[in-house]
Symmetry: C2
């Protein structure tokens, strides 16, 4: 006999969902890595069936009374946090009728599929037809979520990825960045114009790059007993906490992207691998939010991986796996990994210009969801902001402009802010670690990474969703998210 | 408005099952190929949840009245065949309560898991403890299936894999083989003792073996747009008809097994790839039976792949991919692939001694399920039959005796006969093809495989489960299964 029978029934129901989500994650990984082209349609049908089944489990009629009754049971702090997360999942799922979810999935898949050929053809007009349907259905979902959650339409969508974050706060945080970013970019570029960086001479055999990536994953303490590294067109971290699947992509011309992309994904991967084992299967074990997830990949990639200290570890490995050459001196590798060059493409952007790409997307998608602009207005808004923030002319170049990302094609509106919020959180984590470890850089340069990794494990990974984001942040770093840390980090690295 | 509303509802229900079976197939493939060890437990839990869900779908209370009502609807011949197969699935599933299926799955997984270490340790006593529990639960399932189907207990289990086949018929077919096999083996061995076969000189790089295997798959018209070749410890063909996943395993010491194993699996794979597209998602599209499935792999491996004519195609490819050497002359490759040597291990057995391994397993598992022997009796029965059929002494050697196969550990009783039934069917298919194509061997030697492949496609693959096995056999070959074709084939190849 248990003191909380309703809570226990809920736990069993969520454990069942977790197991179906496992199958979903592995099928998605396979779809991104090994599926032959002819398997796509049958896979989509199977994934659609599973998604519908999961939606039915999350909206099962017995959950609402159980959630109400569990709230009156005697629960410890962890169970109460778990119940809070269950309620969140249930509130989001029950806002949306099955038919709308299904219709939006179909429209997203159609738009995404056509986009694969429309983008290389720079066919904005053709793309816009499908995108309008995706936006129409996303707005309908946003309305229903808005009613259910008592939030603005955009905030209701963003709450799926970043619970508790509101656009008023994003405006405040991004407004700060906008005020200093263009000037910072100009200063950094002026400084770097006087510096010489030696390009690395390829080709770099793919097998050597893979061995190098796996070596660096080991250095970062990725557990290969519970995960793998594979190849996909768009690198990602998937799988399940017990079996994390990350991907990268190799080009024989250059090693920089496969290696740093792997370091980025290893940050995501270690967060997943360290979600508390005892809580797995329950919502409280989930990663706190997508911005916090990005704060882990960016802690690995930006704070640690591109630091001058870390180059003392990378440079010898480059020489070992790719052969010695002048470019592989630590200072030069640092130069390669910190070059700032405004460009068209978000995923190729450097650390300094990246926020500009995110801010313009955030501002456009918010207007779009709130009904304050239409799909046809996107190119002009895009061109204006790219010129203002990065001095890049994108007129008529849709494929390297608003057609470059997958997010809008399949309905992931509200996700973009998480990238730059994640960069801010990562800067705040490292600022905190530095206050506790004065010799951090020399530790890193000697290969002692426990100062960083243990802190992330104790403050972020092990807490999973136990606290809401603001409390997690305060407990970890002593205060709320403060974009000043991000600015200070960029100035120290690029102007210091 | 449709003339068969109940049938249409059933079709929709079976299509849903097909989509969940898709996820099951891909997760099983991943489990055999790429999963890291730490992912096993979570995967097992997820697979258990999915299996339970599929069992609930197959036993859903609305199916029985729909099946009854659909039987009174005006259905064309194909729909009627589909309904017959739906009824079969439903009859088998509803015989078994959820709890028993679950308990048997757990016991099977435990026995199989422990077997992986018990087998190398030759620990029969430890293995027997788990095996007894598996047998106990399998007997319980056999009883329930026996009541439901009106068959003997063993026949009820065998009907899961080989619908319509009964042990009286297997006894007749295998009885014929037992009467001539030991003498045939002796004659072949005496003849081969006078022949010289040159062993191939390795090592054979794995990448070259893989390229060779893929080249031979192309020769056999495997569609790589809808499938892949990977590596697993126990080669198999999995995936789904739209995306067939086959595996092999490589050893640098020898190329023979990876290549011929791939040819074997390609036979399974092409059957799967050619299940009629228009019927996919419905039970009538399923492969007819496991013996018919094995008849495809053995048509590829034994009838075609080890024929003297096919060596004219293989030998040049061996030289191209593995380098020229004296062993790679066609007659010598034929010699390598037709050596007859009685041994302990079924999966390593040659074409002539293989039936002996199957017959002894069939006879033991039938006694076991019917309650006419116990787990403790297995080793003595095994030793006696191995000596009688193959003159091989297995006393005390459990690991290369009754502990060598996975089938008994996880409850697949009734499967073993399918291997040798498949060999008999394959011989019958080729005897039929030869009556229609007098020049078959010279066609094969010239690389014209359409005589074989088109016949298999038209007579086996495209019919899927449209006809019951006996009718399929009569339509394809003009008569019922006749083991004389198998004997004639072995005599022609090994004594001709």
């Amino acid at each position: 006999v248990t003191a909380h029978p309703s809570y226990d029934q809920l736990s069993a129901a969520f454990l069942r969902m977790y197991r179906f989500e496992h199958l979903q994650a592995i099928a998605m990984w396979d779809h991104a890595t090994y599926i032959p082209p002819g398997g796509n349609d049958a896979r989509s049908a199977a994934m659609g069936e599973l998604a519908a089944h999961l939606h039915r489990l999350r909206t099962a009629p017995e959950l609402a009374p159980l959630l109400a009754s569990a709230a009156t049971e005697a629960l410890d702090e962890l169970a109460r946090a778990n119940l809070r997360e269950m309620q969140r999942v249930h509130r989001h799922a029950t806002a949306l009728p099955d038919a709308l979810v299904h219709e939006a999935t179909i429209a997203g898949a159609r738009c995404e599929h056509a986009w694969r050929t429309q983008r290389p053809a720079n066919d904005w007009a053709g793309f816009a037809v499908n995108l309008k349907e995706v936006v129409r259905l996303t707005r309908r979902q946003a309305e229903l979520l808005s009613d259910q959650l008592g939030l603005s339409k955009y905030d209701a969508l963003m709450d799926r990825f970043e619970p508790g974050m509101r656009s008023a706060e994003v405006d405040r945080l991004f407004g700060a960045v906008k005020s200093w970013l263009p000037e910072l970019i100009r200063k950094v570029r002026a400084r770097q114009a006087k510096q010489t960086v030696i390009a690395a001479n390829g080709p770099f055999p793919l097998a050597a790059q893979k061995a190098l990536c796996e070596r660096v994953m080991k250095l970062l303490q990725f557990d290969f007993d519970g995960g793998r590294l594979d190849v996909s067109t768009h690198p990602f971290t998937g799988g399940v906490p017990e079996d994390v699947r990350l991907t990268t992509r190799y080009s024989a011309d250059q090693f920089e992207n496969s290696l740093m992309g792997t370091i980025h994904e290893t940050g995501h991967a270690r967060y997943e691998q360290h979600r508390p084992r005892a809580w797995l299967g329950q919502p409280v074990s989930e990663a706190r939010s997508m911005a916090i997830h990005e704060s882990q990949s960016l802690s690995f990639e930006m704070q640690l991986g591109r630091s001058r200290a870390f180059m003392q570890l990378l440079a010898p490995l480059l020489r070992e796996y790719l052969g010695a050459q002048p470019a592989f001196e630590p200072d030069n590798v640092f130069g390669l990994y910190t070059r700032v060059r405004p460009g068209f493409i978000r995923v190729d952007a450097d650390e300094v210009t990246y926020p500009a790409h995110v801010i313009l997307r955030y501002e456009i998608e918010r207007l779009l969801i709130e009904g304050e602009c239409e799909v046809d207005d996107i190119p002009a808004l895009w061109d204006e902001q790219m010129m203002k923030l990065l001095e890049v002319d994108t007129r008529g170049n849709y494929k390297d402009g608003p057609m470059q990302d997958i997010h809008w094609t399949d309905g992931a509106y509200g996700y973009f802010p998480c990238y730059t919020l994640g960069a801010m959180y990562a800067a705040q984590w490292f600022a905190t670690i530095r206050t506790q470890r004065a010799a951090l850089d020399s530790e890193i340069a000697r290969g002692e990474l426990s100062g960083v990794l243990d802190w992330l494990q104790a403050n972020i990974w092990e807490n999973a969703s136990r606290f809401e984001t603001d409390e997690l942040t305060r407990r970890a770093s002593g205060g709320p998210l403060d974009p000043a840390h991000f600015k200070a980090h960029l100035e120290a690295r690029y102007l210091g």
